[in-house]
């Protein structure tokens, strides 16, 4: 029984939470002692490899596994599907066989020994020209191009456009983006026959996956334990077990020995989903006094065999009259999956760009134009703050690109400088985000206190790199007045009380309240043990710095060890569950960027990024800042570098490694400042990280325009596009 008015401690009283502290597993990750699924090595284990046909459309004539089976060290080679005679898309449908060997090398030798006779189809169904050819086969039962959504009044929108003082027509596009988990998808299935299995899986849903693995092992959920102690990124792509998980189980079941099946990078790119691409054809109008009076959008989502994702426009900003038509374009390619705020960065890039174009079009400061057309006060205060941090108030070019390099005094003190030379132009851009977050029921947390004073806090939740392992311990330590590492956190194991799947930034809002509830239950139970010794009723104690006091009579006290010794042989064990009052969604973010653009070569250097982000009560300010930085890094990479390259004639992926699929590296990262919005005083917790990756790409593109007048409407902002746009500047 905990007080029904359960709440977090007030911010002033917090010793650990809402401060900056390192993650408990930081040293394990830095030193390499942290074991990921990829690192598991088990007695008798074999390595699985998938065999793929490198084409999006193919007819399979024959597959001969005999030479693979004859390869030394190969213990299994079999077809993915009997009688499969066609590849319908370049993704898991192109997987035709699995080979297992006693070493990664022998498995690979086995893969190469598989003899496949296949014929490419005439139409690879990748380019828009190919999928819309009159005789193009249908990728999806509903056709290759279809209308999938509509909102608003088309006629009224056209009228409103006509009445606008300024009208802008523009098409914006963003490419498909890979999740690029550093640890590829896959698992290690520890099964030796019998009625129990443990699966070391790189997964975003530890508690949710035993059933899926069990089905493929011919077991029941209760017989399968899923373990994920550390993982190298999921970003929305690791909810299910995938074909790779199913194949690993199938092989383990047949071989009755452990199977290690982690995808190689090429397969990772080909079959584990992606952020869908989009093209948004827009017409918008603004009034001279700075209102967005109309927005007409025809959007196309490129999600491969899946539907793609895009929130229906207008995105974020208030528009008086809007009409949107959404189309889904299917290509014979891997389907999109959830990825860090699915659909939002795509929508944001187009909308933030259009908002900027309208603002400059009517000659208004784009910051003021944003504030005028955003309804949430949180955005107003945040935008003013990031504007000040980035130096907008001293920036000379607030109504259009400047002609001259900035002078000293036209940047805030300490601002990073552009490279020398008149051809380097400098500019600033903005963007905003809103995200759901919050939490939902289902999570449980067990707290156990032993008589030697040791404390364990347990929840099956996975840590995607956000710091969940750390707060599963520190929330309890805070409540019991203990230090940072005093509480042992156990997570990432489906045998523990359930966590939730990590999607939509809901992990913190779902799990942390259950941990806090368990901490309060444990404290209350311990106080009952103290009553006969210290004389005060439960509720009348203070836990601080490793001691327990009677609040009104601090001389009556015990050390933590002495208090726990009262437990004797029976550990104190309590289980907390999710408490809706402790979490609340709805978070805001605003970002500003300073860039330099080389007008000769089209090179963009991002000099400075600043983000302010709200979330209510912060559990760990260092981890939260790290998440905000991560959002900015991801957006920078999306904005400047990332693009999947396919050869449509051959139906094949060219950017099949991390040389050709470029992402931001350490040297591409500018000064980044992550600011927590402490004006959000809500006494509740929430995740917020997905929102932090949303506005950056639009803000960078807007900064490029502000710098040199090059309006680049297509991501990534590569030098060829900047040089092309400069022709119109």
């Amino acid at each position: 029984m905990v007080d029904p008015t359960i709440r977090w401690k007030s911010r002033k009283k917090l010793n650990l939470l809402n401060t900056e502290y390192p993650r408990v597993d930081a040293s394990a990750k830095v030193t390499g002692s942290a074991r990921f699924s990829h690192d598991m090595r088990l007695p008798g284990m074999v390595y699985g490899r998938l065999v793929m046909i490198p084409a999006s459309r193919a007819t399979i004539e024959s597959i001969d596994l005999s030479q693979a089976l004859a390869t030394p060290g190969v213990v299994l080679a079999e077809l993915a599907e009997e009688d499969k005679d066609q590849v319908r898309y370049l993704g898991d449908d192109a997987v035709v066989a699995i080979v297992c060997g006693t070493s990664p090398e022998t498995a690979q030798d086995g893969v190469r020994a598989v003899q496949i006779e296949w014929t490419p189809e005439d139409n690879m169904l990748i380019s828009e020209e190919q999928i819309s050819a009159p005789d193009a086969p249908k990728i999806n039962r509903r056709g290759n191009l279809r209308q999938s959504g509509e909102r608003g009044d088309a006629e009224k929108t056209v009228q409103a456009l006509g009445s606008a003082d300024v009208q802008v027509s523009a098409t914006y596009s963003v490419p498909v983006q890979h999740h690029l988990c550093l640890e590829t998808h896959g698992c290690v299935v520890d099964y030796n026959g019998g009625d129990e299995a443990t699966v070391y899986a790189s997964t975003q849903a530890v508690s949710g996956n035993p059933g899926s693995f069990a089905r493929h092992l011919g077991l029941k959920s209760s017989q399968v334990r899923v373990v994920c102690q550390h993982m190298g990124g999921g970003f929305g792509s690791k909810f299910g077990i995938g074909l790779e998980g199913a194949m690993a189980c199938r092989a383990a079941r047949q071989l009755k020995r452990p199977v290690h099946l982690m995808l190689d990078r090429k397969a990772e790119f080909l079959m584990t989903g992606n952020r869908s691409g989009s093209r948004q054809v827009m017409r918008a109008g603004a009034s001279k006094d700075g209102r967005i009076v109309a927005l007409e959008v025809e959007a196309f989502k490129f999600g491969g065999t899946s539907g793609g994702s895009l929130p229906t426009p207008p995105y974020m900003y208030q528009v008086e009259e809007a009409y949107a038509k959404i189309n889904t374009v299917h290509q014979a390619l891997d389907g999109n999956r959830a990825m860090r705020a699915p659909g939002h960065p795509q929508a944001s890039f187009a909308m933030e760009s259009m908002v900027d174009e309208l603002a400059y079009g009517i000659g208004m400061d784009p910051l003021e134009f944003r504030i005028k057309n955003l309804s949430d006060e949180a955005h107003h205060r945040q935008l003013r703050r990031v504007a000040k941090e980035i130096g907008w108030d001293v920036h000379p070019n607030r109504s259009g690109p400047g002609k001259k390099p900035l002078a000293s005094g036209q940047r805030p003190a300490g601002a990073p400088l552009p490279p020398a030379g008149d051809h380097w132009k400098e500019g600033i851009g903005f963007g905003v985000s809103r995200w759901g977050g919050g939490g939902h029921g289902g999570a449980r947390c067990e707290v156990r206190i032993d008589s030697d004073g040791s404390v364990t806090s347990s929840c099956a939740v996975q840590d995607l790199g956000t710091g969940s392992r750390t707060y599963v311990g520190t929330i309890v330590a805070e409540e019991l007045g203990l230090g940072l590492n005093a509480v042992k956190a156990r997570i990432g194991d489906s045998a523990l009380p359930p966590g939730v799947a990590s999607g939509g930034s809901v992990t913190t809002g779902s799990v942390a309240p259950a941990v806090q509830h368990a901490a309060l239950l444990a404290r209350e139970a311990l106080e009952k043990k103290l009553e006969p010794v210290l004389g005060a009723e439960p509720g009348a104690y203070t836990f601080d710095k490793g001691r327990v006091f009677v609040t009104d009579d601090p001389k009556k006290s015990l050390s933590w060890q002495e208090a726990c010794a009262l437990l004797g042989r029976d550990p104190l064990v309590v289980t907390g569950k999710h408490q809706g009052k402790l979490a609340d969604g709805g978070v805001h973010g605003s970002q500003a960027v300073r860039v330099a653009v080389n007008t000769r070569t089209g090179q963009i250097k991002v000099l400075d990024m600043v983000a302010v982000q709200s979330q209510g009560l912060t559990l760990n300010r260092l981890a939260t800042k790290s998440q905000i930085n991560g959002g900015m890094v991801g957006a920078l990479s999306y904005a400047l570098f990332e693009q999947r390259v396919l050869d449509a004639d051959f139906g094949n992926l060219l950017s099949a490694n991390m040389e050709d699929y470029k992402i931001a590296g350490a040297k591409d990262i500018p000064r980044m400042r992550a600011l927590i919005d402490d004006d959000d005083m809500r006494p509740t917790v929430s995740g917020m990280a997905e929102g932090t990756g949303v506005p950056g790409a639009g803000a960078i593109a807007n900064a490029v325009y502000n710098a040199c007048g090059a309006r680049v409407r297509h991501l990534p902002l590569t030098p060829d596009r900047v040089l092309e746009a400069l022709k119109d500047a």
Partner: protein, 329 residues
Amino acid sequence: MKNFEMALPNSVDEAVGLLPKTLSDDRARLLAGGQDLLTEMKEYLVEPDLVVNLKSIPDLDGVVWASDGSLEIGALTTLASLEKDASIAAAFPALVQAAASIASPQIRSAATVGGNLNQRPRCWYYRSEDYPCLKKGGTECFSYYGKNRYNAILGGGPSYIVHPSDLAPALVALGAEVQLISPRGERVLTLEEFFVLPSEGDVLRETRLAADEVLTRIRVPAPAAGQRSIYLKFKERDAYDFALAAVALVLQTDGDKLASCRLVLGAVAPVPWRCTRTERKLAGRPLGEELVALAAQDALADAEPLSENGYKVPLTQGLIAEAFEALTI
């Protein structure tokens, strides 16, 4: 990769004795730092039975200054040691700038000068086993009709690769020579001669290195009085990346005139692209904006971009302008 045997020769003579006599015999490969060969083997682009490891040969690494001020660089000298050498930085800034621009610190600590000059193209069609491209004995350069944003704008055909080396343009601009040893003895070529266009020779190769030949040393002539040099590399990202375009420029001035220069472009042609005509046009002209503009315009006048790489023309022109400005203004 395929299993192989590795030989550890004690001398260059022993090493070349292990190599095949003809170019069509690809059973053996030379290994230096391994930064290119191992990736080719992992991707099954080459599958040698024998790998001849040059690292076991003494005295092939390190640099020696001759009394005339010229520099001899052993082929096994690592890029990292070049990059850190203050006396080379003083005499040949372009060379150190080029070395420092390559890949990552980890790769530079293993990669060698000889390996860098002999590395194979990065074109994605070449690097993917799925494409039997011209460079691998096929009949087509897929980049011509395909995805070619990184391919050649100068000197292309029938293959449109770009030479990926950063050291090569810098060393050609500095007038370097290479020493090649085979069972027939030693020969010396200018580095400029060492590289061949696909239209001039064997399309399967980028150099004149014979099947049984090893590049052992590079000689950089002493800098002329007042010689200045620079290497500018444009990468799509600042983290390790190959160039989209690069410029190596070596020049001398005479008062307010350009006495002479050597201008070599990287990553725009199948070889380090020396702009000889431009060099001649510029010699003797007054320094200043006009000279810079002429250099940029003339050097790219013959460019024939493919469908997706027209941007390399203004980009390279921008780099040329930056290089001249850096050395003369």
